[in-house]
Symmetry: C2
Subunit: 361 residues, 2 copies
Amino acid sequence: MAGEPKPRRARRAATLADVGREAGVSAMAASAVLNAAKTSTRISEETRVRVLAAAEKLRYRRNATARGLAHRRMNTLGVAATLIGDEPNQYFLEVFNGIIQRAAARGQTATVFTLSDWHEAPLRIPAFCDGRIDGLILLAPLLQPDAASWLPEHTPMVSVHANHVIAGVVNLESDEEAGAFEMTGRLLAMGHRRILHVGGPLDAMGAERRVQGYLRAHAAARVKPPAGHVLRGTFSVEGGRDALESWLRRHRGEPLPDAVFAASDAIALGCIDRLLARGLRIPADISVVGFDDIVLARTARIATVRQPLRELGAKAVDVLLTRIEAGLHAGYGGPRNIVLPTELVVRGTLAAPRTAPLAIA
Amino acid sequence: MAGEPKPRRARRAATLADVGREAGVSAMAASAVLNAAKTSTRISEETRVRVLAAAEKLRYRRNATARGLAHRRMNTLGVAATLIGDEPNQYFLEVFNGIIQRAAARGQTATVFTLSDWHEAPLRIPAFCDGRIDGLILLAPLLQPDAASWLPEHTPMVSVHANHVIAGVVNLESDEEAGAFEMTGRLLAMGHRRILHVGGPLDAMGAERRVQGYLRAHAAARVKPPAGHVLRGTFSVEGGRDALESWLRRHRGEPLPDAVFAASDAIALGCIDRLLARGLRIPADISVVGFDDIVLARTARIATVRQPLRELGAKAVDVLLTRIEAGLHAGYGGPRNIVLPTELVVRGTLAAPRTAPLAIA
DNA sequence: TTGAAAGCGCTAACAA
DNA sequence: TTGTTAGCGCTTTCAA
């Protein structure tokens, strides 16, 4: 005797075979109709209609995984980033927005892989590149120079604001030095002389470039930068707060700077906090400008140097797709490092210097 | 004669078959060793070592797509959200952070699908559910009540802050009414009487609940809410700015409210902007409190009602995974709506009311 | 302990 | 115009 009929499995999604069966044609015909496969040139109108009807009836949805396996292409881009803590998130959000939107426009989706620290990268990055993404965007990676040795070869990659040039990885960034140069130049042109630069960490290339721009602007204007007016700290509100506060304490009674040029908007916010706490008016008593133009700067109306973060994200997608489509080994003819311009954004925290200098309280 | 040997294809990643060949065993053995497949119980130590060596040599990486196809499980969660514009992004970022971190902790990755508007949902959501994600999280969806009719049945879903109860979708939210109640109660207890509520849009359930909490707190304290002190606008800095400004203009000469209870931190920021512009001191002349506790509130030190956004994201992952693992049809026994508590966060913008009331300038 | 065979759902050659 | 066949890379019975 035949055994009991197997219990019906929970209804699964309809497959092409199901649709074909329903329509009385082969799965290939269904595929040709539904998924624009180039199986063969064309399909008779009648079959077409039948397949469409069957698909509709069965609520057919094509399976992207199977399709991806057959095509060796998932139409998915990976984004690797660290996104714990509050500060880097703002940056991430902007770039990610650019990535997501351009990716969507080009028929791709983005999946996010988080690292709690870039030290994990050699272990985790190769694990991400397991066929479910077609390419990977490294967001502000902090890599060792030997990274090329362990980065998977089969997955095209681009980086945004990488700390190093990595062989085989196209990097995108903005011209931070020029932005800092322009902003400092503007301050100098407005008559500011004692410009305090509250900078980022010593090991960050971006922080360094902002200092370089600050110095070059002074040189270009033939103004000697005031001694000891370049501080270094972390790229955060607290970093700005602490760096400025301790500097002010060490310089009591000396003339107050005309302006503070913070190396990031977060730092600027921390500085503003300490200055307001001392009863100073911004910008009447002292101007404060930032760098980045994150949301915070827009809502707090801080004059700043805009980094085109969304554009960087969007362009990263474009470059990555070019590389994916070219095939890794067809060679990529484009530049290894792409630099987008920054832009001065003048807002309420920037004004001409006081005529009579104040002393540090 | 045999034709020319085909040109070697660009080197592709090694497969299990390659590893098996290299090690002189079958692909299954390799699979058993490398991917913890439960092919059969065990593998001899010798084979094991050989396979491991071969894998190492060939830099074998398992293919997640093929594995996903075989398992019908991608270990990937989808997140659908609108993320254009600046304001919703802050919210998104917080919840997304929670999602990403919990997902990573549970061995899942997250892929983001963006909608430019929830009206697109009926077209695009089914397209997302194409086998590349195991489940979907809807972030603050604005759906029509008929959504159940077009939502794909084969993909488990949860929503965070949904505007409607949707059949088959578990929703997570925070107790906004209670948060508003508590905050308003606190203001009343401190002696504030004319509390202006600058609320969110009329069609937002969350905005409505905040109004309800505001009203219930008055009732509980047996204080009659001042007439015309509930405004409605959009959840944005501009929304707050505009709503307050026009209200103040319409009420020149009348007593200034003791406090502003904004329905979001962004609104609070807009209100603060207008109040400071009038030369008012916060909180000495007027207290301002917000709702949400986004980064903005933390840096601007706005007293607020904290919504546990990260926790909501994390919990959404947990619930979704439970549903995925249970299998859609095994039935999900848990609650249909999960409510997490809110929390009062007292910061610098909240103080006791002035003894002598000011007039609106 | 190991391997052979079948299949996940789709696609691409090729033949009919 | 359509169907047949053979994979994509991995997993899982089942038999050896």
